[in-house]
Amino acid sequence: MSDGDAQADDTTPGGDTEQSVRDRIWAVASASDIRLIAVTLLAIYAIFLFLGIVGGLDANGLYSSLERVTFFAAVYALVVLALNLQWGYAGLFNIGIAGFMAIGLYSMHILTVQIGLAYPIGALGAVLITSLFGALVALPALRLRADYLAIVTLAFAEIVRSILGSQRFAEFTFAGFDIGFGGATGPDGTLPDPVKFFLYKHPYSLRPEPNAFGEFYFGLFDLFIIDDSTAEGILYALFLSLFVGLYYFLLVRTGNSPFGRVLKAIREDETVAKALGKDTRKFKITAFALGSALMGLAAILWYTKRGGVTPTNFEPEVTFFVFVALIIGGAGSNTGSVIGGIVFGALLFRGPVFIERIINQRLEAEADPTTIFDAFGGIDPFIVYTTDNLSALRVVLLGVVLVILIQRRPEGLLGKRKEIASSIDLEDRTGGEN
């Protein structure tokens, strides 16, 4: 048996007469997972470029919009990958994602801004703290069935959010350090932006001066008429993409291994895993702690670009967005997670905002009605209303997408995929008695 046709079997349904263009594109795109991700990303870029050009954006605006799209695609891909380990692989129903992200980010703020550790050390410490909280929350999971764990995690996230937002913990002393969560407005002080370290001599001076690499980098982007702040954003997007790559590598290895095999078995039927001699408690705690740590790190990478930290960033909404993204891509598949993150972050999360922006820009250009007819008859009031509220309507859009998806394609965009939990190809039996 060759593994080539095994793959073809479950992607393309039969029907040789109707070998449409779509099928052929799909065949090329799905030949390898990396290519599938790349094709998805390029298709999304193409959509945004098209809309941007139609909307009359200049070159800088186009690049900037692609940079934003990449940013949201990447941050969602990161969190979705982490959730896929917990829910997609081990079946651990964590709906407290926002809580773990908050712990990661607040720990980062305390360790770097408030205590003064360097960025990488602070990030490492924050990730460790988050993983400890993950392990702690996983403890009840050892005894609870899936839906009860969901309640525990949701409650945990809400407790975290109210503690972080509480005035009582705005400032306190811990182990000799004056630290605090800053109450409802979040702690003072801007988080360090890691990319600035690469570009500037003194990143936190009022007008930072580029270093040698910065000079070169900005010079390069000047050639394409891209301003410095967009260029900086592009570097940040690349930085995030690098982490998506790292997450993907780490999690593919985790999934495609005997460890991942036990996680899958726990998801499918924990009693069987135990009956076969697996100490499932150990696996559940490890998977949950690792997943939580990765969520914490994702939050750090997400918000160090913005700098500010507030508890409102971590409302339950965030958790549900991540779940929708994972369902879009297909739970249980790492490649699906990345694609789900990209599609969600770019199209569903960023898309409406982007469209609203270019429409508004268009309207402003045409605006200033000269007659009463222009003001009332020119544009359908419904369209005006819709475009003004696109970003608010995006939650409605999400609901619609989710309903359609669950009805039509519950296994996610990629469909049922065989990502075999083994470090080797199990069906390719070499070294046997031929």
Binding site: R261, A275, S423, E427
Partner: protein, 282 residues
């Protein structure tokens, strides 16, 4: 332990098994006065029996006699309210299921519990104990993964051989959820053997299995018995029990009614009264 040296190379690694299927008189499993109540219902009421090494022991009894619960108590899936289970000289009462399985006492389930979203090969590869790659860091860190893959390659070969033995190798890449009822039973057996057990508890292994497959499965069981494995078998098909199990333990209302050779069980008035009726007379 008397070693019957019928074969030249003594299986040193499997010292707990005997070289032939002959019973040695050593009980590998002792069940003493096990008790389990569910609310007011007494499911198991002081059952006790012994299983000798290298036998295929049958456990029968009418519905509700407490057979499956006894299995659950032996394998730690449920905790006994009283009594003792001794396996291979060690008291395993109250141990967790995975600890018991790792001691070499494994079970299958009455309703086959395949891991349906995993392929047949994944199902089987899950079972071997103490796999290097079950530790996360070994699976992930470069430099260690090589060792993991090496072991995986060995296990892969073993897995294929086991699938061939149970004649489901043609389904290797299939999702376990797509298998027929009988094939799932075979998969469960294959999976259990990959744990390298000493004794296997089979809870109705033939329920829902067609006659051809049934023959195949029973052949396999006897083949493995002759290699020294011990079986405890819950089964409803009396023909199977009478022809393939020796001795037979009869349970009734949570107690052991009697234990003996199939012939004795067949002729015992109490057993007939309790449940067999005239069925055996044919």
């Amino acid at each position: 332990m008397t070693t019957t040296a019928t074969e030249q190379d003594t299986a040193s690694a499997e010292e707990s098994r005997t070289a032939t299927g002959e019973s040695t008189g050593d009980p590998i499993l002792q069940v003493r006065n096990l008790q389990k109540r569910f609310g007011g219902v007494v499911a198991v009421d002081g059952v006790g029996f012994e299983v000798e090494q290298g036998t295929v022991t049958g456990l029968i009894g009418p519905n509700g006699a407490g057979k499956s619960t006894t299995f659950d108590l032996i394998t730690g899936v449920q905790n006994a309210d009283g009594g003792q289970v001794i396996f291979d000289g060690t008291d395993i009462t109250g141990r967790r299921p995975e600890q018991i399985a790792n001691r070499g006492l494994v079970r299958t389930f009455q309703i086959a519990r395949e891991l349906s979203e995993m392929t047949v090969l994944e199902n089987v590869m899950l079972a071997p104990p103490n796999q290097l790659g079950e530790s996360l860091w070994r699976s992930v860190l470069p430099g260690f993964r090589g060792g993991v893959s090496e072991q995986e390659a060995e296990l892969r070969e073993e897995a294929w051989e086991t699938l061939e033995f149970f004649a489901i190798d043609h389904l290797a890449g299939e999702y376990a959820g797509n298998l027929s009822g009988g094939q799932r039973k075979l998969l469960e057996m294959a999976r259990v053997f990959m744990t390298d057990p000493d004794m296997i508890l089979l809870d109705e292994p033939l329920a829902g299995v067609n006659p051809t497959l049934e023959e195949k499965l029973l052949d396999r069981i006897h083949e493995l018995q002759s290699e020294g494995y011990t079986f405890l078998l819950v089964e409803h098909d009396m023909n199977v029990v009478m022809n393939h199990c020796d001795p037979v333990v009869v349970m009734h209302q949570g107690k052991r009614l009697m234990q003996g050779a199939p012939e004795e069980v067949r002729q015992d008035e109490r057993v007939l009264e309790a449940y067999l009726g005239g069925e055996v007379e044919q």
